[in-house]
Structures are given as structure tokens and as C-alpha cells.
């Protein structure tokens, strides 16, 4: 049975899209069918990591929300992105699909101005799983708490909350964890990102897990290579042997359980 995984953070800039793209790519590389939907309608961006040129983006999630097309018509097969960097391809039967949000200023403004039918977004999540025969659907959310975020948290089998070692992130994460518990998400895990390599990463993870009473799936160190990559590709494919990639794989293994 397909699993829906939401990747969320209370604040922006935590590395949500990067983490989502890496986890989805690793899972697709293992012969599973993974979809990634960008519900960050106000500030989309995950398509950049998959090398999807917005000029060639004929349809987006916005078109589906406005009733112009079916949700599967907004899905792009980006399995090729698995083989462009690390020489890796999707294993037999696997595939990677991206449902981007529009990057056109007018279309972003229209969503803000006119709103949309939230039922259609909810139906779209389930329809994507069926039509694309997905094993995993990753929802890349808008930071903070809004209607889309609460919806994606509610329907998720697993919620991954990303935080940095930062006092503002700590407070916001406490709020998100409390809401996730109210919405009875079956599985909740934290990912600590952008930790200084000088930190004792294991001790940091243990302390955060104790503080929130929630498992920490991984602690990702800040690395020069990730900064240099600048979202121009998927890190775990470009640097498969890098310690950061090993951490992504460790988190992916936990998502797969």
C-alpha cells in the first residue's frame, strides 16, 4: 500500500526541498515508484533540483487546482535525473515523478487572490498515488502552518519535520509536533539539518529526540559541497559516497520501514 510522506518545517530555509528530493531519489533508485508534489504554491522551487526547466513546464499543480486538467497531467517523469549525475538509474520498476507548482508570477498571484478548492488538492494526492501507481508520495510543503500544511499533515502516513540547531527552529518545531499529535499522524520523525560538523552529531540527535519525545531520523551536517551545489542537482546522486549522502540513505531506510 502506498505511503504519503510530508516533509515540513516551521520556518523557511531549513533544507526541506533538498531533503525531499534526496529521499525521493534514493527511494526511486531502489526500484520503487516515488512522486514529489510541490505544495509550496506561494514560493515553489523543488523543480530546480530535478533540472526541470520552467519554460518547458506546460502544466502545473495550479492548472489542476483550477480544474484545467487532471492531476496526473501535471506530473513529469524525472527518472532521467537519477542518471545524470552519479551514473545511477532507477532500478527496474522504479520511477520518479514531479508535480511542480507554477513559477509564473501571475499564477501565484491568482492563487493568493482567488483561493482554490481544498477538496481538489486532497483528491489529487490520492489520485496521483493511484494513477502513477506510486509506492511513495512526498509532499513538499510551505513552511509554517496553513491550510495546505494542515491537510498534508493530516493525510500523511509519515511526517518528517526538519529543523536546524537554532532557538527559533526549536520553538516552532515544538508547535508543529504538538499539532501533528493532535492530527494523529501515524508516524512522526525529526530531521536535524545544517548542523555544524564540529558538533557531536549523535549527541545532538539524542538530545533533540529526548526534548520532543520524538525519534530523530538523522542529523545532517552542513557541508561545503552542498552549499557549492546550490540546488543545481541532487546531492546523494552527485556525491553517493559522501557522509551526508550516507545520512540521507539512513533516513530513507527509516522512511521505508
Amino acid at each position: 500500500m502506498a505511503k504519503i510522506i510530508s516533509v515540513h518545517s516551521f520556518r523557511g530555509g531549513t533544507g526541506k526541498s533538498n531533503t525531499t528530493a534526496n529521499l525521493a531519489a534514493i527511494i526511486a533508485g531502489n526500484g520503487l515508484r516515488a512522486g514529489v508534489i510541490d505544495t509550496d504554491i506561494q514560493s515553489p522551487g523543488i523543480h530546480v533540483l530535478f533540472g526541470l526547466d520552467e519554460e518547458k513546464m506546460e502544466k502545473s499543480l495550479n492548472d489542476y487546482l483550477w480544474g484545467k486538467c487532471t492531476v496526473e497531467q501535471t506530473a513529469y517523469d524525472v527518472s532521467a535525473s537519477l542518471s545524470t549525475a552519479g551514473g545511477r538509474t532507477a532500478a527496474a520498476g522504479g520511477g520518479l515523478f514531479l508535480i511542480p507548482s507554477s513559477l509564473k508570477a501571475g499564477e501565484i498571484a491568482r492563487v493568493l487572490r482567488e483561493g482554490y478548492d481544498v477538496n481538489r488538492l486532497n483528491d489529487g494526492f490520492h489520485e496521483l498515488v493511484r494513477q502513477l501507481k506510486l509506492d511513495y508520495l512526498f509532499i513538499d510543503t510551505h513552511p509554517g502552518l496553513n491550510e495546505e500544511t494542515l491537510l498534508s499533515i493530516t493525510i500523511s502516513d509519515t511526517l518528517l519535520i526538519i529543523l536546524r540547531p537554532d532557538q527559533q527552529d526549536y520553538q516552532g518545531t515544538a508547535v508543529t509536533v504538538e499539532i501533528a499529535r493532535k492530527l494523529e499522524v501515524p508516524r512522526l520523525m525529526l530531521i536535524v539539518n545544517k548542523a555544524l560538523p564540529a558538533f557531536d552529531l549523535e549527541a545532538l540527535g539524542q538530545k533533540i529526540a529526548r526534548t520532543y519525545g520524538t525519534p530523530v531520523a538523522g542529523v545532517l551536517p552542513e557541508t561545503e559541497e552542498m552549499i557549492a551545489l546550490g540546488s543545481s542537482g541532487i546531492f546523494a546522486l552527485k556525491y553517493p559516497e559522501h557522509p551526508l549522502s550516507q545520512q540521507f540513505k539512513k533516513i530513507a531506510d527509516q522512511v521505508l520501514i
Partner: protein
């Protein structure tokens, strides 16, 4: 007072609009919220599943579902002669920004 009496009171107290917003779901009493969370996670549910979930008799559950449908919080889906139920979510609200600001934004985008 039963959970659906309390739910009814909660819903009546809200501004009448088609469907529930996610913020509404979050602020429902625990037992009502649990029902909506479950229904949304299932995508849609049949009468027998609701009876099992609530552990109540068929007549009581039918009354509850009827009240939720009439209240606009759940919609009926008729498939192959069977009735299924889905949570009905309220449309995402428009931003209350003065029209002049939208017009200015439109003209900037068109430029």
C-alpha cells in the same frame, strides 16, 4: 452530552460556510476531530466502516452521517449503487487585500 451533540454545537457556533477548514478540524473536540482525521486519511468511507470505527449501532451512525451531510461537513459519493462519505473541506479563502493592490500587482506582472 454525546460527541455529536458537542460537534453540532461546535459547528453551529462557526460561521456558516460550506465545509470545514483545516483550522476548524484542529479546534474540534478530541472525539470529533478523531473522526474527521480518520475519514480524511481513508479518503472516503462506507457506512460499515464508520460503524466499526465509532462502535455504535447502524441507526445512530446513519443519523450522525445524515446530520454531517446536511450540515455541509461531509459529502456523499454514490458509486455502483453504494454510498460513500468524504469530508468536505472549505475552499481556501481569498486574501482580503484591497482591489487596488491586486490591480497594481497585475499591471506590474503584465509589464
Amino acid at each position: 452530552m454525546g460527541i455529536f451533540d458537542r460537534l453540532g454545537q461546535e459547528l453551529d457556533a462557526r460561521e456558516k460556510a460550506a465545509g470545514l477548514s483545516m483550522a476548524d478540524v484542529l479546534s474540534l473536540p478530541d472525539d470529533s476531530r478523531r473522526l474527521f482525521n480518520w475519514m480524511m486519511r481513508q479518503e472516503e468511507v462506507g457506512l460499515a466502516e464508520v460503524i466499526t470505527f465509532l462502535g455504535q449501532d447502524e441507526a445512530t451512525v446513519c443519523c450522525t452521517l445524515l446530520a454531517l451531510v446536511e450540515g455541509g461537513y461531509v459529502r456523499e459519493i454514490h458509486t455502483s449503487g453504494q454510498v460513500r462519505y468524504r469530508v468536505r473541506l472549505a475552499p481556501k479563502r481569498k486574501r482580503d487585500i484591497p482591489l487596488s493592490i491586486w490591480q497594481a500587482l497585475d499591471s506590474k506582472i503584465e509589464e
